[in-house]
């Protein structure tokens, strides 16, 4: 006769006899080991630093004094307001060009990269190329293009374009992949071609997302354009910032320029947040 044995429920207890409610699962293990590793690496990092000329006791009061001069007594001295506005416009222009071209290229590449609209080999190879392009810092692209294509706004825009395309392809293709497969199936069933599916199915349902990502990229590209002006001589307000701090040591001018950049960045951020909340409430 077969006896039915019931497995007794195992209750794990801690050493003190309490019931263990946090039995180790994989998620919490990975999570806590990630956190511990990051913590350990952070402590370790301070032994790897190069402390040449670092005098904290002197540097901290000095920074506070500098910050006070910058932000409480801002003043332009090497150029006027008109010129300053022009430089901000140049930086915005560089950002806008890289964003607009980037969005156009990224749109077509993302169609190739989206798994539901493309063939596997194409989508995989676009992804690999894009991951590579994204891994190279933008400033290196700009500097490389500056020698390869000559200095000027062309090099800056091309360099920024590379990174913008890579970033947007990732965002766009993820948006395309979330398109309801029923829409695509319905269109295909009516005999619509690939382009017709894209124009009438994919585009209408993702357009607001694409727009919101593109604007977010514009926000990023503005600060990238500032950085390129400072680090790669691409002109605009970033270059003036670099000159004011690195050549004239004019703290008050640095402060004023920082305020201008801050103002533009906040306006862009508010706009982008509005756009995003509109997209989410509509979707």
């Amino acid at each position: 006769m077969q006896q039915i044995t019931q497995q007794p429920t195992v209750i794990r207890r801690t050493r003190t006899g309490k019931i263990n409610i946090r039995s180790g699962n994989r998620v919490s293990l990975v999570l806590s080991s990630t956190l511990w590793t990051l913590g350990a690496l952070t402590v370790l990092a301070f032994f790897f630093f190069d402390y040449t000329g670092f005098r904290p006791l002197q540097a901290i009061p000095e920074t506070l004094y500098n910050l006070k001069a910058m932000f409480l007594e801002p003043k332009l001295s090497h150029f006027g307001w008109g010129e300053a506005a022009m430089q901000v416009a140049i930086t915005l222009g560089l950002g806008a060009l890289a964003t607009v071209f980037g969005a156009v290229f990224a749109f077509f590449l993302a169609l190739g990269a989206a798994e539901n609209l493309s063939v596997p080999w194409l989508s995989r190879s676009i992804r690999v190329v894009v991951a590579f392009v994204r891994a190279v810092p933008t400033v290196l692209w700009v500097l490389i293009f500056a020698i390869a294509a000559g200095l000027g706004s062309e090099a800056a825009v091309l360099g920024m374009l590379f990174h913008s395309v890579a970033y947007l392809v990732k965002a766009f293709s993820e948006a395309f992949e979330e398109v309801d497969p029923k829409i695509l199936e319905a269109l295909r069933a009516t005999g619509a071609g690939w382009w017709q599916t894209v124009v009438h199915g994919v585009l209408p349902s993702t357009f607001t997302y694409l727009l919101s990502w593109t604007f977010l990229r514009f926000e990023i590209n503005f600060s990238v354009a500032v950085a390129m002006g400072a680090a790669a001589g691409a002109g605009g307000i970033g270059f003036e910032l670099f000159m004011a701090s690195g050549f004239y040591f004019d703290l008050r001018e640095v402060g004023m320029i920082t305020y201008m950049i801050l103002a533009v960045a906040i306006v862009l951020e508010v706009f982008s947040t509005r756009l995003k909340s509109r997209v989410y409430s509509a979707g």
Partner: protein, 261 residues
Amino acid sequence: MNETVLKKRKFQMTMLFLGVIVLTYLSAWITDYGFVSSLEAVPGAMAWIFSNLLVDGEALGKLPAIMEKLIETVFMSIAATTIAAVLSLFLAIMGSKTTMVNRALGAVSRFVASLSRNIPVVAWSLILLLSFGQNSVTGFLALFVGTLGFLTRAFMETIDEASLGSVEALRATGATYWQIVSKAVVPQGLPQMVSWVLFMIETNIRSATLVGILTGTGIGYMFDMYYKTMNYEVVALITITIVLAVILIELLSTRIRKVIL
């Protein structure tokens, strides 16, 4: 969807595209950008890259020095991100609508976050360079300040999205503020927050190159030095090592993210 809606939509789209085209032309005019010349420059630039950016034996000899600087840079971004994350968590808890202590503290934390996020990392590095001098601490601080603002915003959104229900449940049982934060808000948002931290480490390694060029530290400085002396073989090698480091960290964090999210 009736005809008027479609017509209105078509009109809006046309206006949008016209606006973008006008904006593009305006930008090109202001920045003195030539559409044709930039198109012409691309093939030449590509040819230049493939014929000049080649690693040779002499450049490979510099690998140990490059690796040392690369490791310093990677450590710098990890340290800046992790320490910023700890502080951001407090700022986010103070600033989030669900866990706000009071309005004034919330406003302060949002203001600090917005200030540190919207002043570009370039401006921070140039400001800090003036008093901290040319060393790793300057780069670390510049990355730290920029990361702080970004992570505070990201954490705030995570807290707002995740925890309304459980916060209410705990509050109903009479839990204190700190119990609510430590038992509901933090554990629930933690995977998402770790994912943001990993994303920020990736981003910071790339930014560290830029900060390095400006503040004369780490791998960025090394790149700048060889770039200015036109030693393009070493420039290529440095670029490749940065790419490998970034891709390696990206792969690692993708795997971690897959498990925890």
